[in-house]
């Protein structure tokens, strides 16, 4: 296997006195798509926030391309090429659709993604480029959130529950865009509550339960019972 792009080593995460993650070991290789599954409150979003620097960790707990980045700020991590599509989309309400995309690209990393490419991937955004981001439907807002992250031309894309609250047909259209996104060699971590969706788009998966990795493996290798047990803890 190729050298890992990102490695988490015994990662802990806290919200003040509350410990949300316990000794997570995780890695992802260049070009790989890895799923993270787990029930509500298992710690998936906390893991995404730790990797992207919104929660600071011990420096050595996160290493990216051989560099210890656990203690860096979110803006420094973004510059290294890690982009997060946060849970709940979190667009900037004061910015138009186009401005939301442009601000994603303001880091100035070069790569295949540009405003034109995003509009090619999600044509509806081009029609609505001058509208307030809040005026879009949930699915279109999710497209903006994904486009905004891609504009940074990341090497590692973190997607936190992009299907949350969306109609199945919209979810399908967003997942249909995934091969075009990761086709260029980008690595992706996909957080999903929908187990079968997550396993169908990934090569490996981790299951979190109460802040710990309860199961990991190749996406096709596990039985339903093993996954349910790891997922629900029963």
């Amino acid at each position: 296997m190729a050298d890992p792009l990102l490695t988490l080593t015994r990662l802990d995460a806290h919200y003040n006195d509350f410990q949300a993650l316990f000794g997570i070991d995780f890695d992802i290789a260049e070009g790989e798509v890895v799923a993270i599954i787990g029930s509500n409150g298992a710690g998936k979003s906390t893991l995404m926030r730790s990797i992207s620097g919104l929660i600071t960790n011990g420096a050595s707990q996160i290493s990216y391309r051989g560099e210890q980045i656990g203690a860096l700020r979110a803006d420094q991590i973004a510059e290294k090429g890690i982009a997060l599509v946060p849970e709940g989309r979190q667009l900037f309400p004061s910015l138009s659709v186009e401005e939301n995309l442009l601000i994603g690209g303001q880091i100035g990393r070069s790569g295949p993604w540009s405003l034109a490419k995003i509009f090619e991937l999600f044509p509806v955004l081009q029609e609505r480029r001058d509208q307030a981001s809040t005026s879009l439907s949930g699915g279109q807002q999710q497209m903006v959130a994904i486009g905004r992250a891609l504009m940074a031309n990341p090497d590692l894309l973190l997607l936190d529950e992009v299907s949350l609250g969306l109609a199945p047909v919209i979810i399908k259209s967003i997942y249909d865009a995934l091969p075009q996104i990761v086709g260029g060699g980008m690595s992706a971590v996909i957080v999903e509550q929908d187990i079968s969706k997550a396993l169908s788009v990934s090569s490996r998966f981790y299951c979190l339960q109460e802040g710990r990795v309860s199961l990991e493996g190749e996406s096709g290798s596990q039985t339903r019972e093993a996954i349910s047990r790891a997922y629900f803890g029963v």
Partner: protein
Amino acid sequence: MHVDWINSIIQGVLLGGLYAMIAAGLSLIFGVMRLVNIAHGDLIILAAYLGLTVASALGLYPLTALLIVVPVMAVIGYGLQRIVLNNTLSDDILPPLLVTFGLSVIIQNGLLEIYSADPQKLDAGQLGVASTNVAGISVGLLPLLMFVTAVVVIAGLQWIFYRTALGRAFRAVSDNQDVAQLMGLNKRHVYGVAMALSLAVVALAGIFLGMRTSFDPSIGGGRLIFGFEAVIIGGLGNLWGTLVGGVILGVAQNIGAQINPGWQVLAGHVVFLFILAVRPRGLFPRMTG
């Protein structure tokens, strides 16, 4: 009689330009980082004294001294934000209030120590007395220039806010600090740039104030109040609103003074309170460009 009234209204409108410049700097900072800068008025007086020192030391005309005072104030603003104010920002609105209040006291006492309490004035020379005739009304060139500068400053800030990458960063950080960090924006730097911009406007306001009237270290607080009133009248977070707010305040003060010289400041406060009572969110509550 009739001409006197028209005259005082026109003077009030032009004075409103100064208030608008004071208000725009306050509004900018509040809009970007929800910080109420109690030291804003004292920083204006600091800029006026800086202008005095630069003008007399280098023999420069006060408006030429702006070439030095504006960048110096901007650098002070960036440093102040990065070294002091960033550490006070949190969900709690009280710490920045206390710290900028302390800053206000420090600036006043520092100025008193260095320049004494004697009133000073920046020598505007010919411009201070020159006037032009508009339809039979004599309009001072200095107040006119001050007003035009205010319009240009507000148009410029509006352009930065809504048409540039920097303004996009301001709005993004104001919307959601965490997600703005994810975009690679260092909010501490963005806040520093916003404060630099605010104090650059403060420098303009300070020099014009000093050319127009005499000043001493104690008058900053009064200017802060006028700035606040202009911001609130115009509507929080609306830059053009601050111009309208400044003009309304200036006109109210001058009409008050026309009725009775002792009523100048009072008339401004009364109009402010009246507008606050009728339109608690100001005349033009926040709208986007």
